[in-house]
Assembly symmetry: C2
Homo-oligomer: 334 residues x 2
């Protein structure tokens, strides 16, 4: 049977939430991944070292063993100064910037993206070598939000040349094209944006479980993402953006944005890479590139996938995953 | 108190469904409208005179009085010949063409939109002066489907110059621009496409009750529709495309397309037209233009609207309307 063993798989963009949801989803990530970059957009967001340490402890408790490393992030504030960041540095791997109000729990995000407003914090981050992770969307028309944000990425990349800037969960050809233009821009790509275009979400029936932010785009955008991921472009990392919501927040009169993929991501990636005859690049996409970009040493973990049908559960607790009830052609080795 | 009386309001695109749903929604249309063009996409679709007469009787029974005229339509088949259509003519007002599989219950629609395939039927309809109503979408990317269909409209308009062709529920500037180029092209516009863009459906939370086909488009598209409707362009008619689905088909893992507006359409139109200082044009948009285009004599009915807050019900039976639970600034006079 066809097999592949992935060393130290990493999820460079993960929502673990808190409380009961954390207890449901954290073990599902720790089973399959060596570690993950943990998003800080709790309610309220994680903006102090104390909150961050407490959250990290709750994550560790939810996982129950020491076999998974949560790489912690702070929620960006333009009031963070050098002194604070120097202290924070040993507890965090990166800082995540959200434009205010642009996605789930981002109300306390940044109102003003001018270089002047961000300069104190980003200069300190540059000096301390703390990567900046960015949710890159404008407040414009939903299909244009990411491409309208390109000018912000360009400005930040030029203004802070020593700062590593990760364009999170990119969904457009516009963002993909920035990678080779600016040496300090990097990107994560989700599983679902490698599979979906807007037609899958809203072209037939409306599919709330495939609704996410940024929203899935056009064929040519997905093609650009596939080209990066399947070829394991060295500036690109896998970040699931796995974002669980209870089913009553998805199948309702107002459905929250987020696709839950953590427990099925490696299987679905193996399927996608094999179908495209790029299985040999999966190791780089889901681990090696991230190790080089972040300069981290992950926990040793090997995950073996086998080419054997896997039926995705219809739910995990009250969270419905991507591909719920469908079959994937790759399974985790038992 | 500010008032307006609309004479013989007409809904030139209405889904009344069948059975229990028909009983719920038909009286809600007959209360406010003098008549409506009834869509034939039942399961199975209405393709014979017998089925059409039976459906018309069920509609009359559901309404209970003779105060509302259902203008009946057949589901287009390219096998309808002159002889059949001549017999059908006294029972129908128009024939509705669906490209196969493009929207709710359109599986038996037209596979081949070539002029040659349609010629026999469209020549007969031209001669018998039976208008052709078209759901104009390609099977392409969801945001492009209507604009990709423009070439079909152009070809039909030129190939069948004596045929009145109504572009149903137009949603794009592309379609709007066709009206002044081809003398035999007309259009209906819905209430919801005058209010919504894609951002309202999927820009914040995902809103299944605002999900419809064609999907709501961009600002510039809505502006083009508003320009036509508010100025009561003589080739444009109101057609609600009010399309009820039970709540469990909307708030679920796969949400059906359709917005239910029949009982609140006149109030919401009065609000929109007044806000834009075009209240004087509402009569033309919701009645006079249709009377001229279809050359019909509607039942006499006067509906008076008053400028007084109206709280939209959260549901009618198990159907959730547009603006559910919200306030509109115009009410029906009691």
């Amino acid at each position: 049977m066809k097999k592949i063993t992935i060393k130290n798989p990493l999820d460079m963009h993960l929502h673990l939430r808190d409380e009961q949801m954390l207890k449901v989803v954290a073990p599902l990530s720790s089973q399959n991944f060596s570690g993950a970059i943990i998003m800080p957009n709790l309610v309220p967001p994680v903006t102090s070292i104390k909150e961050l340490k407490n959250y990290k402890n709750r994550i560790k408790k939810a996982i129950g063993d020491d076999n998974f490393k949560p790489y912690m992030t702070l929620f960006f504030k333009d009031s963070y100064d050098y002194k604070f960041l120097k202290k924070a540095k040993k507890h965090i791997t990166a800082i995540k910037l959200y434009p205010a109000g642009i996605t789930t729990n981002s109300e306390g995000g940044v109102d003003n993206l001018d270089v002047e407003s961000l300069k104190m914090t980003l200069d300190a981050m540059s000096e301390l070598k703390i990567p900046l992770l960015v949710h890159g969307e404008s407040d414009g028309f939903v299909m244009d939000r990411e491409s309208e944000f390109a000018v912000v990425y360009e400005t930040l990349a030029v203004s802070f040349p020593k700062l590593k800037i990760v364009m999170e969960h990119i969904t457009t050809k516009t963002s993909a094209d920035l990678l080779d233009k600016f040496p300090n821009l990097y990107a994560t790509i989700t599983l679902h944006h490698l599979y979906l275009i807007l037609d899958d979400v809203a072209g037939g029936m409306l599919k709330p479980h495939l609704f996410c932010k940024p929203i899935a785009k056009r064929y040519e955008d997905r093609d650009a993402l596939l080209n990066l991921a399947l070829n394991a472009h060295p500036k690109v990392m896998f970040g699931s953006d796995s974002a669980p919501h209870p089913v009553d927040k998805k199948e309702s009169c107002g459905c929250a944005a987020g696709v839950f993929t953590a427990p099925i991501a490696l299987q679905a990636l193996a399927q996608l890479f094999e179908q495209n005859k790029k299985l040999k690049n999966l190791q780089k996409f889901v681990s090696d590139n991230a190790i080089h970009i972040y300069e981290i040493k992950p926990r040793k973990k090997e995950i073996t996938l086998v080419k054997k049908d896997y039926k995705v559960p219809s739910s995990y607790g009250d969270v419905v995953p991507m591909f719920a009830g469908e079959s994937l052609s790759w399974s985790l080795e038992e």
